[in-house]
Symmetry: C2
Subunit: 388 residues, 2 copies
Amino acid sequence: MSGNDFIKDRRNPRHLSAGGPSADPLPVDLIPVAGGGLLHRRLFLKSGAVLGSAAALGAAGTFAFATYGEESATEMPPMPPATPPWMKMPGGPFTNYGRPSPHEKKVIRWITSNQSSPGNGVSWTPLQDLEGVITPNGLHFERHHNGVPAIIPDRHRLLIHGLVARPLTFMVDDLLRYPMMSRLCFVECGGNSNAGWNPRPLQARAGHLHGLASCSEWSGVALSVLLDEARIDRSRAKWLYAEGADAAAVGASIPVAKAFDNAFVALYQNGERLRPENGYPMRLLIPGWEGVTHIKWLRRLKAVAQPMMSREETSKYTELVPDGTARQFTFVMDAKSLITAPSLGKKMRGPGLYQITGLAWSGRGRIARVEVSADGGESWAEAELQEP
Amino acid sequence: MSGNDFIKDRRNPRHLSAGGPSADPLPVDLIPVAGGGLLHRRLFLKSGAVLGSAAALGAAGTFAFATYGEESATEMPPMPPATPPWMKMPGGPFTNYGRPSPHEKKVIRWITSNQSSPGNGVSWTPLQDLEGVITPNGLHFERHHNGVPAIIPDRHRLLIHGLVARPLTFMVDDLLRYPMMSRLCFVECGGNSNAGWNPRPLQARAGHLHGLASCSEWSGVALSVLLDEARIDRSRAKWLYAEGADAAAVGASIPVAKAFDNAFVALYQNGERLRPENGYPMRLLIPGWEGVTHIKWLRRLKAVAQPMMSREETSKYTELVPDGTARQFTFVMDAKSLITAPSLGKKMRGPGLYQITGLAWSGRGRIARVEVSADGGESWAEAELQEP
């Protein structure tokens, strides 16, 4: 048998021959790899199509297994018409900026905000509807504390001050003259997946549980370049206080060491300038760290000796522990994986083989391996990783 | 001197001290690397931020040098206001699907179509306005022969027929049950950069000359899987005729060997379902080959012994040579590089250092090296590559 029998046996495509698919037995090479019906995903995808390494941080992948059930004959669908109606008339016009198909209007961010303060809330990336690791800009998750500021870019300034020898302000055009760096990385809200604390697992779509995480190619200017430009006093300045130009003035204290390691001021997301809800015209990107540190609408970086103990690092974005104290400055987003398909709200069309797909990422480094269990952790099987 | 003096010397940011920047001489470590004023780009970006390998085909990068001129004092700009107006009022609402800032409304595709048949033409990606290698979906170039068909996805079928033992039709939902592959790759129209044939170099923006090339993460089902599913007769079927469901029924003959190598039916682009102008609900992706083979709105794959000699591979998309014959089936897009910044239409704010940025790609493999000349090819310097 060829390596494609796994596929051939699924018979979900429509045969042109009359009658339903034949009732072949389970192919002998469909050997379970773990309990609960997990089968190995055959390596029918050419090895050349599985892409190489990505970012050292922010790796993400898909993993796939198949569960096997009984086949059932399906009704013969209509044959493809020789010329569907849209081939009989000229098509629609060219557009300066494209939009998704109107038939995909259900693929949207899910907004959950506080009714009494509508600018404070989140919108969730519909992970269950997406493929690959890039999140399209229109669906990148949002977390706002007081809505999206309508910044006029020519009137926006980034100020670098505090323990620096040369305080500086930067306009957008100033930053655009610096060498750009690009990096594919995830951004994840520190509060993502909080529903997982529920004592009983919630039945919800993947994106409604874990969709405060998205992945883009970000481009901008290394923070090390800008801090050197301002001649930061590295013997005294151990922290940076970053502040946004939104009405909540969201701020976070960031160790200078991380700023010099790999942080940057992003101006572009997936090739184009930032969207308003993602920090237009400039935001911080702190690879692998919790989202609140990636200050959007960045207006100020103050070099200081100690963290500022602002609202978002004291009463918020800290983790209460049972003794009544709270963990603070827990910056790194740890390894996480989740299943995006099958997911609640997606119809499974009868028994048969289904691919299990998911995402995995970590702020601590590259994802080396993902294991999956379908029997409550009794047995585990290794997933195939794909990276962009 | 530190490695950042190149940056420090540019002085384009605004000093907070009174008066203009000091008139330091050219730093001694700004050594020209080639004629015409090319200087080396310092390695001030941490090596960890330069990302690893990408696709074997379809590599793209940025390269950077700097030209040095005389500094001039610039007028002191206004200080950043303590609280700009957008910090004094609640921000705008969350949105289900984001859009670019209204201040970026000039960053659009440039449409050039035939007035007498408006559905036949192209729209160009504004390469000079973008950073990184991902093209956002709204700005991916378009090439239509008779406009964009308004396909109802549930009524669309892909038929695989001809020299196959088991002719099959696939609905979108059928394809979604197959294992997905994802791949970052460019698509480029075979007619891209045709203005380069002009005997005198045209003065135009990078995207107006070369913008029929874009790069996305595409996800879909390997063609090898679908052809095996239909039990293609590989001893007789050497070509596939692929046909689109647009009003022009654009078609192309593709060698079966390439189909089995790394071609796939794409359903997703940068994470979300294809946009209408990029083939919704399904299109071919033929990595590294000319755009016309990536049939959009794919409705039919016919396995045949010989190429079909359709319009788009005979009277069109062939290359006339001086003896009156034409080259045919010249599928692979060869290596190309171009400068995206500086580019016509972008103001250069006086003398000083400027980064030179560009893109390079090839359908024949990974880009290993890019060289730049600023003196008409007399001397060359190697560029720094960045990959996603």
